[in-house]
Structure formats: structure tokens, C-alpha cells
């Protein structure tokens, strides 16, 4: 399995979370500076709207401030926790928006197609900055067949359910499920291989 920049970085991040739990505002600022861009990118994919995404980012980090004391090792890396919070907040927000919008248009219209039209969908290398771990994940994603990567991104970045993806692409549900599963299996292999290669002498 791929790790962050080694357990040292991971421990540093855990120390950051622990400091936030103890009420350290500077530590909170550091965590924000480190991950706000990634959380924003994810929320933007789900919501397709900057103002809405910024609201979701605010919700996510406020939750981090309030619940850092409940974070424990079981949650793995802080980025995994942030990713879960970001997906949950953004998808909830989109559902609420869809409910409001459904007063005038059919429910499934909107969010999904907007997500798909975001230009950055075309190439995750477009603005390839960031950590070693980010680079590894990008490489793993690039190793997928285009039809696998498309559905994995729609599910994990766009926050679209398998059913919504099938409807969006006009593909059978079973095909979508199989592609996502095989895509994840492939990513897992590539990530573990990258990690093992990285620590080999």
C-alpha cells in the first residue's frame, strides 16, 4: 500500500491533529494550508460551483476543528478523514440543492452533467503539483484504461452513484460496477507496487 511521505510525515500530521484537538489554532491553520486546496478541488468536482464548494470547505474544516479530538489512528491518515468529510459534506449539499431545484426541474438533472463537463476531468496531470503521494496516486489513476478511469472519477470525484453513472453514460449498471471494481483493483496493485519499489534498497 502506498503511504504518505513515510511514517515520519504521517506522525507529524497526527501530531498536528492532536494539537488541534487540544485547541491549537496555529496547528489548525497549518492543516488548512496543507489540505484546503485538495478539499476544495474535491468539493468543486462534486458541486461544480465555486461558491457552493467554498461553503462545503468551510463546513469540512469547521468539523475538523470541532471533532479533532475524536480522530484516532483507526481513521488512518488525516487526508483520508478529510476526504470522507469532504465527500459527505459536498454530496449532502448537492442533494439539498437538487431538492430545491427539483421544484422546477426533474431531480436527476444538473449536478452530474456539470461535474462531467469540468475541464480538469480531461487530464489530472494538467496542474501536477503536490506531494510525492499525490504523484503516486496520479500515476496509479493514469494506469487505468480510459473507460475505467472515467467511471472511477465519476464515482470518487464526482460523487455520482453507480446508478447515476450508468444513466449518465447510457451504459448497463453491471458494466459500470465491473469497471469501477476492476479499476480500483488495478489502482491497488499499482499503488502497492509503487510503494514497494520506493522502499527497496
Amino acid at each position: 500500500m502506498a503511504g504518505p511521505e513515510g511514517p515520519a510525515a504521517q506522525m507529524e500530521e497526527l501530531a498536528l491533529i492532536r494539537a488541534i484537538a487540544a485547541g491549537d489554532k496555529t496547528a489548525f491553520g497549518s492543516l488548512y494550508d496543507r489540505y484546503a486546496g485538495t478539499v476544495m478541488a474535491l468539493c468543486l468536482r462534486v458541486l461544480g460551483d465555486r461558491a457552493e464548494a467554498e461553503e462545503a470547505v468551510t463546513d469540512v474544516f469547521w468539523q475538523v476543528w470541532q471533532q479533532a479530538g475524536r480522530f484516532d489512528l483507526e481513521r488512518g491518515q488525516p487526508i483520508a478523514w478529510l476526504s470522507t468529510l469532504a465527500r459527505t459534506r459536498a454530496i449532502d449539499r448537492r442533494r439539498a440543492l437538487a431538492r430545491r431545484r427539483s421544484l422546477v426541474v426533474p431531480e436527476d438533472d444538473g449536478a452530474g452533467s456539470r461535474t462531467e463537463r469540468l475541464p480538469s476531468d480531461a487530464d489530472p496531470h494538467a496542474d501536477a503539483v503536490g506531494s510525492e503521494q499525490g504523484e503516486r496516486v496520479r500515476r496509479a489513476l493514469s494506469s487505468l484504461a480510459p473507460e475505467q478511469r472515467r467511471v472511477v472519477e465519476m464515482n470518487f470525484f464526482g460523487g455520482l452513484s453507480h446508478k447515476d453513472i450508468a444513466a449518465e453514460l447510457g451504459e448497463p449498471l453491471g458494466t459500470v460496477k465491473t469497471r469501477i471494481r476492476s479499476g480500483l483493483a488495478r489502482m491497488k496493485d499499482v499503488l502497492s507496487a509503487a510503494f514497494e519499489g520506493g522502499v527497496a534498497p
Partner: protein, 264 residues
């Protein structure tokens, strides 16, 4: 739902897109203790957790940070203790070996037999039954872990300050779970606590939580480590300031090596 049917549910739960009934079905299934689905979920979540790092970061407006920092500065909240600290005061069970657990269950059942004819208070009896039922479940859960072929047992011996202390770790490799039990440890001094460290093959010491001991000198910790922690080769317990520290500073109270598993 079968494990096979749950495979796609696991993916959607990790992606945050699962429907309520499917997510509940998975929770029920996992609560019943399916190690296969637990491992699959852990795997899917590990990927889901780092996938967003592949996205080119998008900076939110500066006002988002400003507003958050203002809100944080104005928050007069009470500091919540760290998760591992809160988990400490567990029922003083001593699941050292299956035999001990079995003996505990037998003793508990014998207790019921004696208690029944004497009971006048039905509610108290029911409460007692519920408690025993809970104990029995906990013991069965521990037994299940101990029986699993994927569990590796690690023994820890006392360091110089407490040569009589001992510890044991049951490492469920399939689930990445570590159950640590300590015995015959002196209570840590005032303002002090014990902290568990898992040490990987690069000699990096990963903090795995703090714990205290009860009157019998027993303490326990349940830890889940991400695969990214590397190959763990040793475990140790040190004496540290309350709240724990990110790197060990105190003397070693317990220590043990972890045998490598061939092929793993």
C-alpha cells in the same frame, strides 16, 4: 446480502455514494464479524482516502480561511480528550489466553446459577443478565480474534524499571488490528501515562496511543494501523507525560520483537 453482493456496496460506501439501505446492510454484515468484507472495505477506503491527492489543488478564496480563523478564535470550546485516552477505562477483563476467557465465562454462568434462586428484584436480575450477555459477547469476540489463523501473538517483557511487567499483542493481520494487553505494570506517576509505540523496519517509532492501568496493573489498547505504517518489527511501551508525546522521551517499560512472517 452475500459478500459477493456487498462488493459494490463497499465501493459505494467508500465513495460516499451508497444508499441508506445498502449502507445499513453492510454495517449489519460487518457487525456480524465478516473479515473478508472488513478487509475489502479497509482496502477501498484506503484508496478513496488518498485519491483526492491526485486532483490538481484549487485554492479557495482567501476569505474562506479568514472567516474560519475568526470563527475558531471566537470558539470558547472545551477541549475534548484524545480518542485513545477516552477509550482507556474499559471493563477490567483479562483476555490473556482463550483458557482464561473460557474460565471467565464459566465463572459468569456459575454466578447466574447461584444468583437466580436468591433474586427478588426482577429488574436487577434482568440488568445483570444484560451485563453478562454483553460480557459474553465481548469474550466471544475476543475468542474469535484469538482463533483466527491470521492472528500473530507478540510477547513483551518488562524493561529495566519494571522487569516483572509483561504485555501481549494480538495482531490481526487481515484486519490490520492490534489488541494490546499489559499486566503487572505499576500505575504511572502523577501527570504521567504509558504510551505504546510500534516500530517499523526503518526504526521509526509510531505512536499507537496512551493507556493507564487498573488496580491489578492491567491496561489495554486497540489500535488500527494503516498499511502505510510499513513493516512493524517491534513494539515498546514508555513512560510519558500525560496526553502522550509524538516521539518517545521516557524509559522503556515493556518491549518485544515481532517475528517476520515468511512470504508476507
Amino acid at each position: 446480502m452475500s459478500c459477493e453482493q456487498l462488493r459494490d456496496v463497499i465501493v459505494e460506501v467508500a465513495a460516499g455514494t451508497a444508499g441508506e439501505p445498502e449502507a445499513r446492510a453492510l454495517t449489519v454484515h460487518l457487525a456480524a464479524g465478516c473479515p473478508v468484507c472488513a478487509a475489502r472495505l479497509a482496502e477501498a477506503e484506503a484508496i478513496a482516502g488518498q485519491l483526492p491527492l491526485a486532483l490538481p489543488p484549487v485554492a479557495p478564496s482567501a476569505s474562506v480561511r479568514t472567516r474560519l480563523m475568526e470563527r475558531v478564535a471566537a470558539d470558547p470550546r472545551v477541549v475534548v480528550p484524545f480518542a485513545a485516552e477516552r477509550a482507556r477505562p474499559k471493563a477490567p477483563r483479562s483476555p490473556w489466553i482463550p483458557a482464561a476467557v473460557a474460565a471467565g465465562i464459566a465463572a459468569a454462568l456459575a454466578g447466574v446459577a447461584v444468583y437466580v434462586p436468591l433474586a427478588r428484584d426482577r429488574d436487577a436480575l434482568r440488568a445483570e443478565m444484560r451485563r453478562l450477555d454483553g460480557d459474553l459477547r465481548a469474550a466471544s469476540d475476543t475468542l474469535r480474534v484469538l482463533r483466527s489463523p491470521a492472528v500473530q501473538v507478540v510477547s513483551l517483557g518488562g524493561g529495566e524499571p519494571q522487569p516483572g511487567a509483561r504485555g501481549r499483542i494480538f495482531w490481526d493481520r487481515a484486519r490490520g488490528e492490534w489488541r494490546f494487553y499489559a499486566a503487572e505494570l505499576r500505575p504511572p506517576g502523577p501527570g504521567r501515562t504509558y504510551e505504546l509505540w510500534l516500530i517499523n523496519d526503518r526504526n521509526e517509532k509510531i505512536p499507537a496511543g496512551t493507556f493507564g492501568v487498573d488496580a491489578r496493573g492491567e491496561g489495554e489498547l486497540h489500535v488500527s494501523l494503516p498499511d502505510s505504517a510499513g513493516t512493524i518489527v517491534a513494539a515498546a511501551v514508555t513512560d510519558e507525560p500525560e496526553g502522550g508525546v509524538p516521539q518517545p522521551t521516557g524509559s522503556i517499560q515493556l518491549v518485544g520483537a515481532i517475528q517476520p512472517v515468511t512470504g508476507g
